[in-house]
Amino acid sequence: MSTSSADTGVDRGTSRPGSAPVKGAAPGRGTASAKRRSHPFARFVLVRLGVGVLLCLGITILAFGLTHAVPGDPVAANLGQRALNDPAAVAAFKAKNGLDDSLPSQYWTYLTNLLHGDMGTSQQTHRPVWDDLGDKIPASLELALAAIVLALVIGVGLGIVAAVTRGRWPDRIIRVVSLAGVSVPVFWLAQVAFYVFSFKLGWIQAGGRLSPGAIPPDDITGLYTVDSLLTGEWGTFGEAFSRMVLPACVLAAFNIGVLTRFTRAAVLEALGNDYVRAARAKGLPESTVIRRHALRPALTSILTVAGLTFGGMLAGTVLVENVLSWPGLGQYAYKSALNLDLPSIMGVCLFVAVVYVVINLLVDLLYGVIDPRIRLS
């Protein structure tokens, strides 16, 4: 030990002008700043919205670049065998669809039109893409919503059961079932389900959202089940509902598997928290402990997965809608891709991006609702 008295090892701390005039009295600092603190969340949402818009813009560039760079010729796709060899017809087609311009100028035209709500005209349906999407989106949305609700109810339920019985037989069975759910090829499942329930047993009518010729309910939301309920058309509701059962179940299978697995993991993680032990130590019934104390924190990760699976459901709808002839976006996207119908492909991509952004935003907002830490800081 060699400390000389002259050299204490600690030097003078120099002072500098106080940086923040805010008086940080320790206790109760939440009250005064609670209002100011809600702003960051609103700003966060706004920022996310802005980022979302940029993302959509990026998507249009990406989609545009990809679809226009590929060597396929939309002229061949959209003119018949006869007209193809008619130079006049080809020229007319190109001029009409602006295929002669340079790529950037085509993109610019697309973008300016887009800002005016014009997504171009589909080359296969000869209708404005906007109208096409307007027709197809509700059908797919209805299906996807039904599937996600189904998946949430079953998936979260099974997940909780598995978490609570972890290591015991219900958990093991649920584990295998959920793994099977994420492993089953959806197109095959659709076929098998169709074969069994429609073909062999004749229980379920498939194909279309309503029976042929039936008049859909008034267009309020575009979702037949909801609209028919709103207008009180019970018969139509029954029909729309029964026709949705099979495709929705098939579409939900994968997501049930995913949600079960994540719910289980999230609930298990939550159950391992000290505050759950603390809740038990309060003498609360186990059901309350799980519902109020374990499920709530698990909900954030369940929501994330639900949001992502919902956004990712399009892949499923392409397959399911094609097998079970559901007149939705999936079929439309498939046809558009096959026909290199560029405006339609762009439209679908843009829509998917918007859904992605909206879902993410929604999930973020819901985080705020669920978790006060996010809402308040």
């Binding site: 008295s5 002259a6 090892g9 600690v10 500098r16 106080g18 005039p21 320790a26 600092r29």
Partner: protein
């Protein structure tokens, strides 16, 4: 092996800020002067969140100071970028608080210890030999070199971490609460190990802790930190026996003693304020038992009232000087 005499660590008016988006910058260290000589043990104590770790990291170059300077062995310590640390600075090392996080869980401990050798141009074989030697030095079996960290207890891991630091042949070690996560008995043995290093090898030791009693036991000098600033410093026994700053006093009288007397420690109401919104004037004034109105206005200058003893309190300053 012995550190060069000038291998001291000098912090001058060090300020470190954290910037996170959407929040005001947090000045976690707000102007600190500190000096660690070779062979000297300097204790740094303070409540949680007062900026001890921040200071420690800035001292070794893991954080970039907002202002002020850090010097080691006469040369400025450069903040770490993507490039390897200059060899001259490798004599300045750090021991971390959490023995579970400070070892790579997926690499054998022998390998981790020998890194220092390899990185300074030695061969793997040299490194391995040194690792065995150092494991022995910190009181572990040389065979352990082939094992992974998860096979060890907290105390043993902390020894391994120290062995790794020793492999760089340091002349100054910053130890950030190296014993906080350990049992009393393990705490004692790690504290002893570090103390031995300082004594035997002449290594300077900046010993960061929130546990006053252990600092009291091993440090030569102590600095008491409050909300980013050093409020009092001086030789350990003097500060302990005769704390002047009201905060040091509160801190010391809050330590319960295991003497069986049943005395309740004194409490200090309130908490350390959020460093993002520090109180104006003397940072301690909202909790200070002797504060006067003026304390809210001016930040007190540290006064050296006895040789090697300083305190920063404007209320006491005149009295202190008189005593001194």
């Amino acid at each position: 092996m012995n550190a060069t005499p000038d291998a001291s660590l000098v912090l001058r008016d060090l300020t470190v800020s954290y910037h996170s988006p959407g929040r005001p910058a947090v000045r976690a260290v707000a102007g600190v002067d500190l000096r660690v000589e070779p062979g000297q043990v300097v204790g740094l104590v303070g409540e949680s969140g007062c900026g001890k770790s921040t200071l420690g990291k800035a001292a070794v170059g893991l954080l970039k100071p907002a202002s002020g300077s850090v010097e080691f062995a006469g040369a400025p310590v450069t903040p770490l970028g993507l490039k390897p640390r200059p060899p001259a600075q490798r004599g300045l090392q750090m021991v971390f608080q959490d023995p579970y996080a400070s070892l790579n869980p997926r690499r054998k401990i022998g390998e981790q210890i020998s890194d220092a050798v390899v990185l300074s141009g030695g061969t793997r074989a040299d490194g391995r030999a040194l690792a065995r030697e150092l494991l022995d030095r910190v009181g572990l079996s040389a065979e352990f070199a082939e094992r992974f960290p998860h096979e060890f207890s907290g105390g043993q891991r902390q020894r391994i971490a120290i062995a790794r630091v020793l492999a760089a042949d340091p002349s100054c070690i910053v130890a950030d609460e190296p014993i906080a996560a350990l049992d009393a008995s393990a705490q004692a043995s790690i504290a002893n190990l570090l103390l031995d290093l300082a004594r035997e090898r002449g290594v300077g030791l900046l010993f960061i802790s929130h546990d006053l009693s252990i600092v009291r036991q091993i440090a030569d000098t102590v600095a008491v930190m409050y909300l980013g600033t050093v409020v009092e410093s001086g030789p350990t026994d003097q500060v302990w026996d005769d704390p002047r700053h009201p905060y040091s006093r509160a801190l010391i009288s809050a330590v319960p003693r295991a003497d069986g007397n049943g005395e309740l420690p004194q409490d200090l109401p309130g908490d350390v304020p959020d460093p993002a919104f520090p109180p104006s004037g003397c940072r301690f004034h909202p909790r200070c038992p002797i504060a006067v109105d003026a304390c809210a206005d001016a930040e007190p200058e540290p006064t050296e009232f006895l040789p090697g003893r300083r305190a920063a309190c404007s209320v006491l300053a005149p009295a202190l000087l008189k005593i001194g």
